[in-house]
Symmetry: C2
């Protein structure tokens, strides 16, 4: 089915996905750039998507005994510099406060890029015995990483996220936490954002600065590039040794705690836009849409006709609201119908119910799906059942489409020529055997701009007999490669 | 009734309320100071109180059509300096980022102390016509005001808050918003934090930097001092003129929008601690208590006895949870009963249910109220009804006590000698006629440390024939004075 109205000035997704993305972010009212380079203003429609993510994840965290806290945004430079790899990884991106209260500070303060250092410092005070473990904390906050090239939601100098920080008695318990967080993120993307991502282990060169192992969620953007969409780190005792997080075990022996950290940020919204949006703008999965249904009143200039439609729309509005549907009504007859439909399509509202004279007489609505523009007539008497059902169908169809797209955009290659060919032409994710040597990885990146994304979870224990796609040396696991955002 | 267990090391509230306050903050696990001067770590028990405030206020804001957004934490200095009074008011407290991404910035960035400047700048883009008005935005975020003397929750260099920012067609509509926000805050304090505050208008010298008028909520701390606990500002067109927030009215005339801003911060938690806490620690109103009831299992060393109590406690736990009560159980028999009761009293859990052999046999619990230590036996069969009822009673009693305390701590005086006498001895709020001259106000402050707190709402239109308590000149309204936190 064809789309109903041309979007003036909106780049086609297939023409230039980057221009299209920026157009959608602005025109759907999701965000704008601010006067500070690389910092974003998140507008109501964009922020509502973040609140949906917060509500879902926060409830899961709490059920699992994770407790919310708030640590200061400022980290003394000396504290920040305690873990060697960590400081090397984050120093180039720091924003630094040097003056406060009208005076130069004795010690500059880093604006947190992440909070491992301050939080681990406190774990040292709070953890004494095995009875204090595990200790699971989380905070919802802003962080700052000064970026040279920025992209709304995807890469901004300031962004919002949650950062979970936990300490455990041993590696086994910490790894359970790492995997639990990864599972939350995967479930969130699948069930709420209707996205099927790749999930797996990062290579040594791609892992978090200071981690023993990093696991990640990678979204396959429709242009074949990768978007790292959440991470979960096993930090071993790297930070706990530096900060002295020691506890007495049941036998009275002193041990260093094992640590995890995990985060998901407003970047998730970028993944959502990229995955489902189309040439008419944003497309929102019903579960996370701030408004799931828009009732559009249609009437000519006659006041009496308009009043009847307004009344009918109000009646339908109530039915849907009572059925638990997030509904909004648009009976602004001053604007043209085409303009109004355009605006709601841009905003990605999953379902549009048109009500005019025809529907009024038939006691029905014309329901138009945002995701595929299919139309159907729904009678008023079954509205409270059919519409929630239709929203479920849309949610499911979007997810299946995302899964299909991910699979279609993944190639399996065995030679470096094939690899280079893919990266030079239609970009895709590539599953290929790799020797796991960092020099080889760097050479591939240098030539193709593709980096290792993840080793999929079900391949971690693979022990195949392959040749590395890059250097030809023996390899035993197939990794996913892609160019990344 | 006497309290049950002595709190070792906890200062008595009546001996030194400041030491007591710091002890409670630390020992109840609400917050700690961090390595950065004046910045606070909000621990789970403290953060949960903030989350309660967020949930209540956020739902009221949304019902009224206020939309959540997020603006950058950094404000270019040139933007910040645009409104003259505003910059004069906040400059001494700014934290400034001068370096980022390894380079010195061309223009330093202020860390937001409040967001009028950045948000008004955007209103100028978003508001064109009267149809765009009112526009009501809010954000939940951190702000930084560098403070010389800090006090946990009450005055910290970084704090969390919500800041509402709205623009309206005219003064009348803006004032309705100012009053609505003030009413939300009052209702929140009354119904949830169980505090009866004073509500009124600030004097010219005490108003927000850049406002036409500031309204505030003032809590009467039990030491007779004032805690400004929320503010709501009418900004008139002070900022909208500077930033060019103009709109076309229905007749096609260009007009400047009228603006409001209003905020409530983590300082609210300080008010809660001060108001209800006692010599045994924190006392939480049931509506905001993260845990409303603690079931304490009592048993000797016999494993069989312990098991029976654990089983019974679990059974009661389920009954209460099903009744919608936030309940926690403590059957940690390794610790002494006294220690355990101490800890739960420190944390302020409103109701303690003791269950031991006696209760097990009688199929009952011994319920002990945190607020007044009164005990009663409640049989299991009516637990699901009686406990929620008892929690309501506690909430109500705490509120009435707060109202009584506020009134008891308010004096009405007509001479300056009386005024000075009160401020020099038992500190109180003083209601007294004042000429409304800033020089007189400053002289009173200089001599007594007392400032005008508010002109109560029902006195705004007063036109009495009084003598000013300070200078003896004619005065027509009675203001509230107090020393303030």
């Amino acid at each position: 089915m064809a789309k109903v109205f041309e979007k003036k000035g909106l780049t086609k997704k297939s023409d230039n996905i980057s221009d299209w993305y920026h157009d959608v972010v602005l025109r759907a009212g999701l965000a704008e750039y601010s006067d500070v380079k690389g910092c974003m203003i998140i507008k109501p429609h964009g922020y509502a998507l973040w609140e949906k993510a917060q509500a879902v994840l926060d409830s899961w965290f709490k059920e699992d005994g994770v407790q919310n806290v708030y640590f200061p945004i400022f980290i003394p430079m000396s504290l920040f510099q305690k873990e060697k790899e960590h400081v090397a990884g984050f120093s180039p991106e720091l924003a630094v406060v040097t003056h406060a209260g009208g005076e130069e500070l004795a010690e500059p303060l880093a604006v947190r890029p992440t909070s491992e250092t301050v939080i681990t410092g406190k774990f040292a005070d709070w953890v004494q015995s095995y009875r204090d473990l595990p200790m699971k904390l989380n905070q919802w906050c802003n962080v700052v990483r000064w970026e040279k090239r920025t992209y709304p939601f995807i890469r901004t100098s300031e962004f919002l996220w949650q950062e979970g920080h936990t300490v455990h008695a041993d590696k086994q318990d910490a790894m359970l936490m790492v995997m639990q967080a990864l599972e939350w993120y995967a479930q969130f993307y699948r069930e709420h954002y209707a996205i099927e991502p790749y999930i797996g282990l990062k290579s040594e060169s791609e892992k978090f600065a200071g981690a023993q192992a990093t696991y990640a969620i990678e979204i396959v953007v429709p242009d074949g590039k990768a978007l790292q969409a959440a991470t979960s780190h096993y930090l071993a005792d790297h930070f706990t040794k530096v900060f002295g997080v020691e506890y007495l075990d049941e036998e009275g022996n002193k041990k260093f705690a094992h640590q995890t950290s995990w985060g998901l940020s407003t970047r998730a919204i970028g993944g959502l836009i990229f995955t489902h949006g189309d040439d008419s703008g944003l497309v929102l999965p019903p579960k996370v849409a701030p408004q799931q249904v828009v009732i559009i009143g249609i009437a000519g200039k006659e006041m009496a006709d308009q009043e009847k439609v307004v009344e009918y729309a109000g009646h339908l509005h109530k039915i849907l609201k009572d059925a638990g549907v997030r509904v909004v009504s648009d009976v602004d007859f001053r604007k043209t119908l085409g303009f109004r439909i355009n605006e709601w399509e841009l905003k990605g509202i999953p379902l549009r119910l048109e009500v005019g004279k025809k529907e009024l007489e038939a006691k029905s609505v014309t329901a138009v799906r945002r995701d595929n523009f299919s139309k159907e007539t729904v009678t008023e008497s079954v509205l409270h059942v059919k519409i929630p059902k239709l929203l479920e169908t849309i949610q499911h169809d979007l997810y299946k489409k995302s899964e299909q797209s991910r699979n279609d955009l993944t190639a399996e290659v065995s030679t470096y020529d094939e690899f280079k060919d893919v990266m030079a032409n239609k970009k895709m994710f590539i599953r290929a055997a790799w020797c796991e040597d960092a020099v080889c990885e760097a050479a591939i990146k240098e030539e193709t701009k593709a980096t290792t994304r993840v080793l999929e979870l079900d391949r971690v224990h693979e022990s195949g007999k392959y040749q590395c796609v890059g250097c030809g040396e023996p390899a035993h696991r197939k990794w996913l490669f892609a160019q990344s955002y």
